[in-house]
């Protein structure tokens, strides 16, 4: 004989009809074989009718959707490749939920084998369905093998609620800003290092400034002297080369005056104690008698330049001076170990 169990809620009626395999005559025996399931919603005309598969599908759909509603975390429908579930629930706005039933193939089944059935439920109706299912699962007298089996969604299976584009947006924005900043800064010119202006102080300070400055780019004026990294001599040589190219005076009166003046100045300032061999220089002198530049003629002259007073007496002319003056006088100066200074006008200046 068939046993009927009914779970009645204000908005849902779940009716199960079945039999007990073990004790077929006892109406109080537990239902172990299900014959018919009917799910009615008062207010909705067509009840859902089916067998155990409908019941299982309803339980599955209710668990899946109900948990998603409670947590707000969407969960994947099922393993890819598994058949589509018979019953599915979907949200339809803030307050409505669509219960969709797929068609069944069995001809003898009482379900309408026409188009799939869809029922729109309100939240309260949905809750009553959930409650009816929960009461059935809790009932040990009806299909005791079916119980409530809930599982939380593992982190990996939870569908991200923000779309991928929105999640990637901050990373993309940051990277593109970095690229744009790098491109903009690429065009910024590297600041050039200006050479330090030459020292105009006496020789004593000049000698303390011997440390070579690898960063300075000495003006290319034939000054590839090994080891003698003195900026002053470099500047002096450069100035001399520049001046010897510009006009030089050949006026004999001027030349002799300047020659005498130069010899006197160099002799008084020259101390021969460190000089071992003659040191020859070509010196450029301004019309006022200022030593504006010089160049060494032999290697010894370069190496021993600090023994001579030339560095101390040389004043590299400023561009303003050069503009005013037109001609310099060139002399050949030789410092001898004996202490004598020989000065003679230079006939043909050579670079």
């Amino acid at each position: 004989m068939t046993i009927k169990r009914q779970y009645t809620l204000p908005n849902c009626n779940l009716i199960l009809e079945g039999m007990s395999k073990e004790d077929a005559l006892n109406p109080l025996a537990p239902i172990t074989m299900l014959l018919n399931v009917e799910c009615q919603f008062p207010g909705i005309t067509d009840p859902l009718i089916g067998g155990k598969d409908l019941l299982e599908a309803l339980v599955q759909a209710v668990n899946h959707y109900g948990q998603g509603l409670l947590s707000g975390v969407p969960r994947p429908q099922g393993k890819p490749g598994s058949p589509a579930p018979l019953a599915t629930l979907e949200r339809q706005g803030a307050y409505h939920h669509k219960l969709q039933l797929a068609t069944t193939d069995k001809a003898e089944d009482k379900v309408d084998s026409g188009p799939p059935m869809a029922v729109i439920l309100t939240t309260v109706q949905l809750f009553d369905l959930v409650e009816a299912v929960d009461q059935f699962l809790a009932d040990t007298q009806t299909l005791p093998e079916m119980t409530l089996a809930l599982k939380s969604v593992p982190r990996r299976q939870a569908i991200a609620q923000e779309p991928l584009t929105q999640r990637l947006l901050p990373a993309v924005a940051g990277t593109s800003t970095l690229v744009a900043a790098a491109a903009a800064l690429f065009f910024l010119p590297v600041p050039e290092l200006e050479p330090r202006p030459p020292q105009e102080t006496p020789a004593a300070e000049g000698t303390t400034d011997v440390t070579p400055a690898p960063g300075t780019d000495p003006p290319a004026a034939g000054s590839d002297a090994p080891g003698a990294g003195n900026i002053d001599i470099v500047a002096a040589v450069a100035a001399y080369t520049r001046l010897s190219v510009d006009g030089t005076t050949t006026d004999p009166d001027t030349l002799s005056t300047l020659e005498t003046q130069l010899r006197r100045r160099l002799s008084t300032a020259f101390a021969a104690d460190q000089v071992e061999e003659p040191l020859a220089y070509q010196v450029a002198v301004s019309p006022e008698g200022e030593v504006w530049g010089f160049r060494h003629d032999n290697d010894a002259a370069l190496l021993a330049v600090e023994s001579t007073p030339l560095l101390g007496l040389t004043t590299v002319p400023s561009p303003a001076d050069l503009l005013e003056e037109e001609a310099v006088a060139l002399f050949e100066v030789t410092f001898l170990p004996t202490g004598e200074v020989r000065v003679s006008p230079l006939e043909s200046p050579d670079r």
């Binding site: 109900g66 948990q67 998603g68 509603l69 409670l70 947590s71 707000g72 975390v73 969960r75 803030a94 307050y95 309100t122 939240t123 309260v124 809750f127 959930v130 409650e131 929960d134 009461q135 699962l137 809790a138 409530l148 809930l150 599982k151 939380s152 969604v153 593992p154 982190r155 939870a158």
Partner: protein, 201 residues
């Protein structure tokens, strides 16, 4: 006979029915703290006496070992990181279970009111009327809004998204629907498992 210490309060068996989830760190994730506090906030908005009801529920369900008193109850609720006075300590699984059980216990008491409000909401939205037309519903929504704004820190990103009345109303109605599900026979199990969706390893 002389007794040196008060009789031990039995450990609440009601919490053993809830299975411990596998969580990294063994403590509740942030989302759980927020969800539980917001559900309690919704209950407070439903009934003015609910704070006393909550403490009464602790006594009825014998949860004193987990929640000894009013201050500890407030401290546990304040683990919600969205609050102004957020306690910087994690929520233990035992405390979360206790809160879950209390929420379901109280929402069962408020079943009639919850269903009434949801039916009212359904009717108003079908006729496209403003939610103030239903007196109790308007009352619930305005109380929820004022409680939320008084307690939640607006500088938190999770609170900034609810910066208008409409958004807070939508949140209040979502929580009301969740409370409806908590009133069911298996409400405690359903709520407990939903707290860790997307968080278990």
């Amino acid at each position: 006979m002389p007794v040196d210490s008060p009789p031990a309060v039995p450990k609440p068996l009601i919490l053993d029915a809830l299975r411990d989830p596998v969580l990294p760190g063994g403590v509740c994730p942030r989302r759980t703290q927020v969800d539980l506090d917001l559900l309690l906030l919704a209950i407070e908005a439903l009934d003015v006496n609910s704070s006393e009801m909550m403490l009464g529920a602790v006594q009825e369900l014998s949860l004193q070992t987990v929640i000894p008193g009013r201050v500890q109850f407030w401290q546990i609720r304040s683990t919600n990181p969205l609050r102004y006075s957020s306690q910087r300590r994690p929520l233990t699984l035992g405390e979360a279970k206790a809160l879950t059980v209390i929420i379901c216990h109280l929402s069962k008491r408020l079943t009639v009111l919850i269903r009434q409000l949801l039916l009212g909401y359904q009717q108003l939205s079908d006729r496209q009327l403003a939610l103030d037309h239903h007196f109790r519903l308007g009352d619930y929504l305005s109380r929820f809004r004022s409680h939320f704004r008084a307690r939640m820190n607006p500088q938190r990103a999770g609170v900034l998204i609810y910066n208008t009345d409409d958004k807070l109303d939508a949140l209040a109605l979502e929580l009301l629907q969740k409370l409806l599900f908590c009133t069911g026979t298996q409400g405690v199990q359903r709520l407990w498992h939903s707290l860790f969706d997307g968080e278990v390893g």
